[in-house]
Symmetry: C2
Subunit: 301 residues, 2 copies
């Protein structure tokens, strides 16, 4: 797969799927160790793979190629290596179609186990016309060059979070909590700019990746422990314009070690292109926290 | 089923399920014509039935009895009459368990069709301890006696929306759009008070009902057409205290005829007990709009 610059896109290669011969419902993929976050495959990468499989099932013949509403229930950490995506078309409608997918991997004891179960309702964003009415406010961010690039994280962190060599993520220092130094706040917000390093332009599939790459607000709040996404629902509201995306996570309600997050993604034209909601569970780190240099291990919730 | 006053609860009766003998995964129910909204079974009633079935599957042996995260993708209108709920346990974990459910009915041409597909991740709210941190603001509502009771709607409306004889819903007149008369705003908000008429106290299952009973914000915005829920995700964050619930829907982004809604439910102690997100599709009315007295017909999306 090649982008407009003639190079193949790392993101498209990392989320590529192959439909099985004689089985249109099953897809094979290979999760790449270059896209890890804290030692496991980033949830946005997993969602992009699933989003691609759902699109394959639903886009023909109806043109329902865009994820209007995706719900993902994460069951266990996805690890590098082969995986299969099993899909089921639930309903093909006039304006919307719905399908289900599950991502399966052989675990360390040789048993095929499900990592995430997803429902997706797809439609055609181009059919919605030009009219929209947004009262949400675009994140107020300082310029990308004044933000903190995650590529500058410690070698120990990057060794378990290779995704930060693939995405160009610039974090607002004022929302990084104690990691952001003086001037940082505990506002329950995490925000920054995102683009892909190889120039691959944003589209609805890339937005699925982008929906789960910001540091969770738990860091901003100074909550100790390993954050894991329990649930994520994503609405893609418009096709994004080229250029930098602005990403924001906000929480308004933390109960025990469960944190709700609202996510918004805005494109370079100032349009709200994605709305998502996450439920995050904060668990005790398995082993030494990776911020001290050790790798997170595969663990259930 | 009887509540503390010694009466059986209409809500518990209307959402009762029976597990099939020799098939622990399938439940039978009967949707009651007393709980219709605009001629079809209210989506919150359907969700309460599903929530009950998921609880039956997940609460033993782990005590995962509370809906931490539910995702519902609505496929077609649910109508009064018998239905079956087919469930599948996906994963039983230490702190959370996940299952799937589908609601099936025989349609008007005799074919068994699926009305809604649901994923649910359940846990134990009591295990979370007393600590919480909420920055969201409780809705600022005038007293219930100064709001508009939906029981006072026109006889034509009540004939297709019998749910308003079962729930005690008091709508804030300032958010009713043109229906609210002078002083109404088009703020993208719909809010009010809720309790059950028979005194049945709120609990997580009743919150599932409550998550989908307010008029959609489309009325507030003056959008013409029939609103249908495409997707709904619900997080129950705490067990509600007895008494009135405060409900609020807000939208910040309308694209074409698709409307995102954020829902919050607050209990009488001022605690945020539920957070939900809806995607609503506004379609052309089938037949005469029910607000003029005719009934909505079963229709796909």
């Amino acid at each position: 797969l090649a982008d407009l610059t003639g190079h193949s896109s790392e993101f498209d290669n990392a989320s590529a799927i192959r439909c099985r011969q004689n089985d249109e419902s099953t897809f094979d993929t290979e999760f790449n160790a270059d896209w890890l976050n804290l030692g496991i495959v980033n949830g946005g990468v997993v969602l992009a793979v699933v989003g691609r499989a759902l699109r394959e099932r639903l886009s023909q013949p109806s043109g329902h190629q865009d994820p209007f509403a995706i719900s993902a229930h994460y069951l266990a950490a996805t690890v590098p290596g082969p995986a299969e995506v099993r899909t089921e078309v639930i309903r093909r409608g006039r304006s919307l179609s719905t399908a289900q997918a599950g991502v399966w991997q052989v675990n360390s004891t040789g048993v095929l186990t499900e990592r995430v179960r997803v429902l997706g309702t797809y439609g055609d964003l181009d059919s919605l016309g030009e009219e929209f009415n947004t009262t949400a406010a675009c994140p107020d961010l300082i310029a990308p060059q004044d933000c903190i690039s995650t590529e500058g994280a410690s070698p120990e962190m990057l060794s378990v979070s290779g995704i930060h060599r693939r995405i160009d993520l610039r974090l607002d220092p004022t929302t990084l909590g104690r990691l952001g130094g003086d001037g940082a706040s505990s506002s329950g917000v995490s925000q920054g700019w995102l683009r892909l390093r190889d120039g691959r332009k944003p589209d609805p599939l890339m937005l699925l990746l982008a929906s789960d790459v910001l540091p969770p607000v738990t860091f901003n709040l100074g909550m100790q422990g390993a954050p894991a996404t329990v649930h994520l629902s994503v609405y893609v509201r418009a096709k994004p314009a080229s250029g930098w995306l602005r990403l924001r996570l906000r929480t308004s309600n933390v109960v025990g070690h469960y944190v709700e997050e609202d996510a918004e993604i805005w494109d370079s034209a100032g349009r709200l292109v994605l709305q998502a909601r996450h439920l995050i569970q904060v668990s005790t780190w398995v082993g030494t926290p990776p911020i001290d240099g050790s790798s997170a291990k595969e663990s259930g919730k």
